[in-house]
Every structure is written in C-alpha cells, then in structure tokens.
C-alpha cells in the first residue's frame, strides 16, 4: 500500500499572525503535485509547517502520514518518518563537511531509533553510494569534502538539496522553488535529477513559478494558493494556464482570498 500524506484544515501562524487559513491537501506516494500562487500566498509557510519549523505554529488542523498525526513532532522525527524539504534558501553550516552531514542524516533516516554517538552507516558503502549519486547529478565528487553550502553558488546549493533528497529517499518531498535563481543549465540538471528520483516510492510537492521543472515532472494535480488557502485544484493544464495568463482570473474568482493575499503582500513590503 502506498503511503498517504494528509493535510486537514491546517491553520498556521507565524509570530501570532495567521498565515495559513485552512489548507486541505492529500498527497500519495508516487504522485506529483504542483503548488502555485502569487508571492505571499503562503506556499513556503506550508512547506515549513510540514517540515516542522518551530516558528511556524499550527493553531488548528492536522498533518498525518498514514493516519499517524505528526503535527506535534519535531522536524527530525518527521524526517525519520519520510518527510523532506528542499529549501528555497539552503542554510550554510561552516566547518561541517557535506559527506559527514549526509552520513549522519542517512544513519538517522535508515535507523530511526539511532541515538547520537551510535553507529553510522558504514564508511565504505556510504562513499560508494554518495559517489554514484553525485555522478548521476553531474556533481564534482570534491563537493563531498567541502563544508555544507559554504561558498556554494545558488545552483550548487540547489543541487546539494537534490543530492540530499537522493540520499535520504524520502516518502514525501517538498521542493520550495528549487528552480528559482538558477540558470537554464542548472534548472535542467535539477529537473532531470528530480525526474530520475521521483517514482512510485515518492510523493512530490513542487512549489514553482517556472514551467521547466513541471515539463520534466508533469504533475497529476496543480493547486493554487491564495491568501493562505488552496483556492483551486486542477490538472497539469491549470499550471500551463497560470504560466500563460497569470493570477488575475484566480483573484477574480476568489475575491476574499485575493484581499487577504493583497494584505499579506503589503505587510511583507
């Protein structure tokens, strides 16, 4: 049976300001969903809330994986259950080598009961695995020895996110604008990388403003977020339509959410 990520009536606040106002979404392993929406509509907020960022507090509603409520779990516990977020802005951790970081991460993911200080996955098999994954993604193996995201270009950081996804093999992956700020070569690498990795074992939520990523990874569902709600859901053609025509029609059809969104955008400036 394939796993199910189920988000029910999710309300999320940041610093006591309500941002998400009742999000419903179901993602099955093997499915690709696109999440679109204008700036400030709450896409990243949903991504962070799913990953378990402590500053994004769920005020009501639930997040479940196969019926297990994970809403109160720490981010690392969620990751051990198969949740993965490719960050819009990956974090630099100086002095921590990519290889050490990923080796610790996969040791925890593959042995969810592991405690700090306990055994890590074997060095030899780990080296082999990361090397072949890096080659698949067209990455210089030297990167494994560099410090995590330290001095990396935007494209290198995004590729590092995809490498981590490849190594962690999550059940559910959320990609938050993984294709933004990249040149077209890098977008192609990331898109192809994702296409290779996603399959029947992975449910994917792609947050994007561009079409390229979706061309390589055609979504079965497209959701549109506005003012902290998912206001419309369609198929891949909805994504095409939004790329071609923008959000004016969506705003017209959902004036209340559009007003909320305008407020959020104004506040963000």
């Amino acid at each position: 049976m394939s796993s199910l990520l189920k988000i029910t009536d999710l309300h999320v606040s940041v610093a006591d300001t309500p941002i998400l106002k009742g999000v419903n979404l179901e993602i099955r392993q093997g499915e690709i969903h696109a999440l679109m929406g204008p700036n400030g509509s709450g896409k990243s907020t949903l991504a962070y809330a799913l990953a378990g960022h402590p500053n994004y507090s769920v005020t009501s509603g639930t997040i479940e994986i196969d019926g297990v409520n994970i809403t109160e779990l720490e981010a690392d516990e969620r990751a051990r259950l198969g949740m993965f977020l490719a960050f819009q802005y990956p974090v630099v951790i100086p002095g921590v080598k990519v290889a050490d970081f990923i080796r610790h991460a996969i040791s925890n993911i593959r042995n969810p009961d592991r405690k700090e200080g306990e055994g890590l996955v074997g060095m030899r098999e780990f080296r082999k695995e990361i090397k072949s994954r890096m080659e698949e993604l067209g990455m210089d193996v030297e990167f494994a020895r560099r410090y995590l995201n330290d001095g990396f270009s935007g494209g290198e950081k995004k590729r590092m996110e995809i490498l981590q996804m490849a190594m962690l093999q999550p059940k559910f992956a959320i990609l938050d604008e993984t294709d933004s700020g990249l040149d077209s070569d890098a977008v192609r690498v990331v898109s192809e990388g994702l296409a290779k990795l996603s399959g029947p074992e992975m449910g994917v939520l792609i947050i994007t403003h561009h079409e390229r990523l979706l061309e390589f990874n055609p979504p079965q569902y497209t959701h549109v977020m506005l003012g902290g709600r998912i206001v419309e859901t369609g198929d891949a053609s909805l994504a095409h339509d939004l790329h071609a025509n923008g959000y004016a029609a969506i705003r017209e059809r959902h004036p209340e959410a559009a007003a909320d969104n305008a407020q959020a955008e104004a506040a963000a400036v």
Partner: protein, 443 residues
Amino acid sequence: MSATLDIDRIGYSSEVFEDFLKSRSEPDWIMDARRTAYAKYEELLGEELDPEEFKRVDLRIFNAAKFRPSEAASNADSIQTLLANETEYGGQIAHVDGHSGTATLADSIAEQGVLFGDLQTLLTENRETLEPYFLQQAVRPDADRFAAWHAAFWTSGTLLYVPKGVTVDLPLHSLIAHTNDGVADFGHTLIIVEDEARATLLEETTSADSDASGLHVGCVELIVGKHANLRYVQLQNWNQKTWHFAHQGGNVDSEGSLQWTVVGLGSKLSHIHQDVNLNGRAATAEVNGVTFASNRQKISYYTQQHHRQQGTHSDLLYKEVLRDDSRVIWRGMIKVDPAAQQTDGYQRSDALMLSRDARCDSIPGLEIEADDVRCTHGATTGRVDEEQIFYAQSRGISEKEAMHMIVEGFFQQVYDRIPIEVVRETLSRTVQGKLGIEATASV
C-alpha cells in the same frame, strides 16, 4: 598598601623560598639566578597588578597558601593522557607534580646532537649552550609578578635543543601532570631550534584526579633560528580545580617559521600571556587557539604579535566555545615597530556562545608605528543559529546532535590550520568528549 599585603595569600614568602632552595641540588649559577628572580618577585608583589588586566581576571578567591611544591615525585602510571599513545614519537618525557621523569629519545635523533629531556639536568650539563636562552629572550623574569614567581621557583621542565641544520621528523611528546591535592608546579618548557633546523613538540597538561586542586605557574620559551621551523602544541587539559598562570613567548629569526597551537580546555582559571616576536626579516608565525569553557571556568588569553623587522608575517586565529556560566577573555594585540615595514599581521577571534549565562570579552588591538603595513583584525561573538539547527533537523538529525555538529564545525575552521593530523584528531575527540557525545554513546 603593602602594610596590609597578605603575602601568603597572593604568593610565596621568603621562608617558603628558602625552604624550596634547600630542597634543590643545583649549581650556584642556577641558585643565584633564582635568588635574583626572588628579589624581583618580592618587589613586584609589593606593587599592584595591572588594574586593566586584572579587573577581568579576578584573583580575589585565589589563595597561594593552599598550594606548595611537592617534595616527592608521584607515580605516573595512573595518568590519563590524550596524546602520549596516539602516534609514534621520537622522544617522550613526563613531569608529575613538578618532578621530571626519565626522558626517552631515539638514538637516531640523539646522534645528531639533539638534546631532549629534563631541563634542570640538561641546563647543568650544557650551561654554555643553554644559559643564554633560559629566561633571557622569549620570556623575561621581570615581565610581571607571575613571571618572576616562576623564575624563582621553576620546578621541572622540558628542554628541546635542535642544533643547526638538523631535522627531527618524528614529533616529541611532553606531559605535565598533577596527581596530589594542593600541589604547585612551576613547569618550564624551553625549545631552541637553531638555524635551518626543524622540530615538532606536542605538550599536554593533565590532572590525574579530577577533584585535586592544583596550581601551575608555567613558562614556555620557543626560540626559532634563521630558516628554522618549529611546530609546538600545548593542550591544556587540567581538571577544573587548577589555577594556571603562564607566560609563553616565541622568538622567530629571519625567514624562520613558528606554528603554534594552544588549546584551553581545562583549569578553574587560566591566564596566559602568549607573545610571538618576529625578530628577523621575513619571519613568520601562525597562532591557533582552541578554547572550550564550561561550568564556571574562566579562561583568559592575552596574545601579542610583535613585528620587529621588515617583511614579517603573523596570522592568529582563536576559536572559543562557551557553555554554562563560563567566561572567556581574549585580548589580542598586533604591534608593529617603525622598522617593520611591509609586514602583514592578521588576528581574529570568534566566540560561539552556547548559554545565555556565559560571557566572552574579545578585545582586539593594533599598535602600528610603520606606515607600509597590512594589518587586519576582527572579533565575533555569536550564538548557534536556529536556522542551522532546523536545517539539520529536517534531515533527521536531532537537535542535540545538530548543535554538536555545529560546534565541531566551528572548531573545524581552526583544526584545518593545524598541520599535525594526530592533534586534529585528538582535539576533535576531546571536544566530543567535553560535549558529552561519548557519554550518550555508552548508554
């Protein structure tokens, strides 16, 4: 002021000194030097300490009367060392409670005229060679009260002398240990690397008993000749009931290079002056500092990079991690003399605070009297970044493990500068131990 001075609390009276002299069997020239130093010490005891310096380094609860040099040597067997068994050494020596044990030195090294072992014996046997260096150049007995105290009472020490042109490939190891409660040791380290010679010495300090209080008034003198190279590491790992005062000086002659790493993990309070003097043209010094303070530890380093000649280069990086209620003080100075044109001086101290109750004072400084120089300095103090923690957690790494990785990563930037693998590995392991990672692992 001196009327109310309580000598027994702040130092050693002349009675203590006379008793100490009686316990030594040394040639007159050494005894005379001690007497001269004691006279200076008495004079300095009557003077106030530098108020600027000692407002941060609080000595109000220090009581010298609780510590005395120990009469007999203790057994070295029970002593845990971090470095002694980790690599192959060309020679080793241990000092316990201020008494030197027997030194070993590989024949192949001894044959080249290298002297290594107990300072008192070697000073006595090689007066002509060594007297001009001992407490004459890199550290002066009149520097302050603690330097004079040490010069009068030095108990034991490690001497390494490498003659001109000789390279010692294997590192040497020196251990300074305390075993008994209330012991005072005045250990001295004197390293002379003559022109075109090369050597590495790894030194560590330790307490066999975590509950025994101790006092170390130390001195390190490093003399690096022309085109010579010295790599020196001092890993200070006393228990948290030990007071540690030291003057440490390194003199580098033309085109010589000194790579000097200091590690401060232990002690109740330590206050160390670490000076590098770039005395010859194009001399270079690289200084690395690793400090990890916890509980109520106070660790203070006063560093100076003194450029005295043209084309000299110094580069200092200290990294400090503070936990609990600890306090770290770093006061760094780059001094450039008028003659030292085209010098390049760099200093930086970064502190990572793991608790709100810890306190760090970083005070960089420059005193530049030449006009064609490049000197940069900086100091940062920060906390562990929550976003780094969350990022690691989102990859399945627990908050605590993430915090530990971030701390290790913070130190990694200074480990990367340490040219000796066994030191890098030992430091990483020791820091993990202090972070408590091993404790968790053994559950």
